[in-house]
Symmetry: C2
Subunit: 297 residues, 2 copies
């Protein structure tokens, strides 16, 4: 099947608008939009996934999920996305449709519309998505954290990284099927000063917030949330390490004034520390040193 | 140098707005926009270019040029773009800055602003861009061609494909450094019924127009424009073949009512045939058969 046939089969997995609002012309044509957020992120075979551990549906799901997580971190509501596919010779229509199904199920759940894309040959399977969201009100920025803000995360940490290291079905699933925390972001945003999604590990992503906000942070190791199943699988010391320095949890990290603690806790936010005026990242009073988390290269 | 250092060096090649309007947060934040066009296209090493024939500057130029050409085909004016980079271990800061320079020179010329991107490891150098343009008035669609319309192209054809096949510096340059025909599109658009950019060869891209418009087309081989240097390099028979079935010329194909012939000719458009009510693609009265052009897989 040639390029055009493959594109047709992939697009058929999605609820698309007729061209030119959807795929089919040189560009997609969009009506006027209010303020928007745009992000782009790629999944590359044997870098971000292997076919031994991911189904084609998982690959489609995760490629969109990691991008939606970036929208969540800004407080934006998903609107449209494009998909550029790099396909090796052994990925044909059948496999591509499985990728499409994994992706479209998640797209539908969050109201994101496929508007266009591209297919090319490639030595390994590659998915590069660009995703756009509507912004109602001000964006949640990395640069908004203030000394005295409490630091919260929107879910337990470390499972996705542990899922790469140990054989445990639930942890593996956390690796393959992250859920973008869009609903949490939509409800928490009125009370929040700063936000980022935890894609590279708590320590590294918190450091991004600290740098952008010109502040420091103090973490309390006893508060860093790890799930019971992660504790059972790897013990407390490794669980904390995965939570701090692992990556790909795709929960949100937010900072908010202490007076909003109860509101945020009621939304499921878990307090892990406090923003300080003193530069640097500390845990239980000691400076965090060494590589902070995952880098993509 | 790690991911974050590489991103900084690449971004420094461009005129970017401070975050969050430019790169640096989870998403770029854009103000309200009027109607827009969006496209995405990728260049993959050893599929679309080799390092033996392309400089890093060429690679950066071409990755943006092929996307800008899609905007030209819609009659849109470039506004912003994102760049997702897949970098093999031997592409470091020095090479990346060369890619950035090639890309930013073209971006500046056409008023396109880098707003964000992504860097990941990859076995081979890959650039996936998503580009957006502002649309003033109606878009130029593939589906607008009408029987009796004349078919024009905005420049000579076949050089880029010939540049892959023969050793000739000028033809090689046409391969490496396509110019998006944005200025032509902006001036021609009031008179045009349909448009597409010629990325896959005249025959195949004309067929896309015919399918979308539910019409046929008659080409006149004596009018298909080929440059004197292409004729000198490969002779008339191969020149016509490269023009028809080669690809990557990135000129525009437009159709327009015969009464606008002089206006379009004055803008540099070159007449190559006529749209017919009868389905199918014909040249000099005979049906065009065989593979029509380049497919990307």
């Amino acid at each position: 099947m040639n390029e055009f046939g493959l594109i047709e089969r992939f697009v058929a997995c999605f609820d698309v608008a007729p061209s030119p609002a959807g795929p089919g012309d040189d560009c997609a044509v969009l009506p006027a939009q209010g303020p928007t957020c745009v992000t782009t992120d790629a999944l590359v075979e044997d870098v971000h996934f292997t076919r031994a551990t991911f189904s084609f549906e998982d690959i489609g799901h995760k490629a969109l999920a990691v991008n939606l997580s970036d929208l969540a971190a800004m407080g934006a509501r998903p609107t449209w996305f494009t998909v550029a596919l790099g396909l090796p010779p052994d990925v044909g229509a059948r496999e591509l449709v499985r990728v499409g199904r994994g992706m479209s199920a998640l797209a539908r759940r969050h109201g994101a519309k496929l508007i266009g894309g591209n297919v090319t040959r490639s030595p390994q399977l590659t998915l590069t998505l660009t995703v756009c969201g509507a912004l109602e009100g001000l964006p949640l920025l990395r640069s908004g954290a203030q000394p005295g803000d409490l630091i919260f995360v929107s879910g337990p940490l470390g499972e996705a990284a542990a899922g790469l290291a140990v054989t445990n079905p639930a942890l593996r699933r956390a690796q393959r099927r992250p859920s973008p925390h869009l609903a949490f972001a939509a409800r928490a945003r009125p009370w929040v000063h700063a936000a980022i999604d935890v894609s590279d590990g708590l320590a590294q992503d918190l450091q991004h917030v600290c740098k952008a906000s010109q502040v420091g942070a103090e973490l309390d190791s006893s508060k860093v949330p790890v799930s019971a199943r992660l504790l059972r699988a790897v013990g407390p010391r490794r669980a904390l390490s995965f939570a701090l320095r692992g990556g790909e949890d795709y929960v949100l990290l937010v900072t908010a004034p202490a007076r909003h603690r109860e509101r945020l806790t009621a939304l499921g936010a878990l307090e892990v520390g406090v923003i300080s005026a003193r530069a640097g990242l500390r845990m239980d009073g000691a400076r965090l040193t060494g590589p902070l988390g995952f880098t993509h290269r």
